[in-house]
Symmetry: C2
Subunit: 236 residues, 2 copies
């Protein structure tokens, strides 16, 4: 790029900036989807329940836009080193973000089917788990927008706590189901919602791993710290 | 590339070939993981249950290898048009394949916790669903290796049937849980296993969509045909 006139370099920078802007917008949208999905459940808010699926189309569109712009930049600018690593990271992260949106929509679609257990502890567990996952997702999106490896590593470490709440919530739900068959329906929804939240946390962790690699060139260890295994506590 | 000496073009082709080889190997591995996971459940085969988690490390390694080789090709060869679109598709598909491996491992880890229901219909439903998902996954991997848009579209259409079996299996499992609380534990495992299989089918569909786009330059419609909605049949 050294011999090219300045305006080309500037346009290249603008394109990279636009690409980052697209994933930042995706990040903001899936954060909103996640927040609304949780509000839909714990506040039994119908309006909140409608929003995540509604936003899905926009997230999908942005993912395609990011991909096409990335291809364009790769074709026309032949970026090197850090830029190239970041473009590849963006391509991968947009996939994670799209999945997060899917999980949030899936939670929202179940949200209004669980009113029976409204008084139960599971709602506060879901709220706590939701808060943590949202926090992690927010940090992951920030780390992504600011190329912040330190923050990325924080997200990567914090997911343990999500696992722990998930495991204890799982235990509680299984107990409810055993106690009264009328709880089975709503509990299945809650189990899947908790699972979806846990997956959102996983994808936030994936994003954190990719940012860490894109910024530092080093990989975080393949195995991240984990907190509990819900599958182990189901009665056999 | 027209003015470059032949040996460079050849090396470039070799690198692209190597990249395709890596995802083809990933495809083969996750097919094997899926097959073993299903065998682990329906035949209650301990050895089969150990294999999918064991292969995970290899799949992860191949994903990283694919990413690094893709970056290398992008940096050194500045590929254009179809090649470029295919490299981007490979980057995205390796993520789908890695996820499929995760889901298969998750099924395998639950496989030996469900013996109580061995005589129940759910096992044959899981077997049928497993067979279909494997078939679709195999076709998706073939389409990927051979850049076959027609086959890709077949996969994309066939996922409806997976949804249908999933929905009816879901209904059956909920009934078992209602009938006898002792069924709750194993049924939860089966619900999650069925869900994981359904997700594997989804990722096979994603792969098909990407191949179709990489080969033709056209996108398949955002909404694929669907068969039933399991969430709707849970008693409220």
């Amino acid at each position: 790029m050294m011999n090219e006139p300045t305006h080309t370099v500037t346009r290249y920078d603008q394109e990279l900036e636009r690409l980052r802007g697209i994933v930042a917008r995706m990040g903001g949208l899936v954060e909103r989807q996640t927040a609304q999905a949780i509000a839909a459940v714990v506040d039994q808010n119908e309006e909140a329940a409608r929003e995540p699926p509604r936003l899905d189309a926009e997230v999908d569109m942005l993912e395609r836009e990011a991909e096409q712009l990335a291809i364009r930049i790769l074709a026309l600018r032949a970026p090197m080193a850090v830029d190239l690593r970041q473009i590849v990271a963006v391509l991968k992260m947009s996939g994670d973000l799209e999945r997060i949106g899917d999980y949030a929509s899936s939670i929202a679609r179940r949200a209004l089917k669980v009113e029976q257990l409204e008084g139960a502890l599971s709602f506060s567990a879901l709220r706590a788990m939701g808060r943590l996952v949202q926090e992690n997702l927010h940090k992951a999106v920030e780390a992504m927008v600011e190329n912040d490896a330190t923050r990325a590593k924080e997200v990567w470490n914090a997911d343990t706590e999500v696992d722990e709440i998930y495991t204890s919530m799982f235990r509680e739900l299984v107990t409810y189901m055993m106690e009264d068959p009328r709880n089975i329906g709503p509990c299945i929804h809650l189990l899947f919602m908790a699972k979806n939240l846990e997956r959102i946390g996983d994808h936030a962790t994936n994003i954190a791993e990719r940012i860490y690699y894109a910024v530092t060139g080093d990989m975080l260890p393949a195995e991240r710290p984990r907190g509990g295994d819900a599958a182990k506590i189901i009665p056999g």
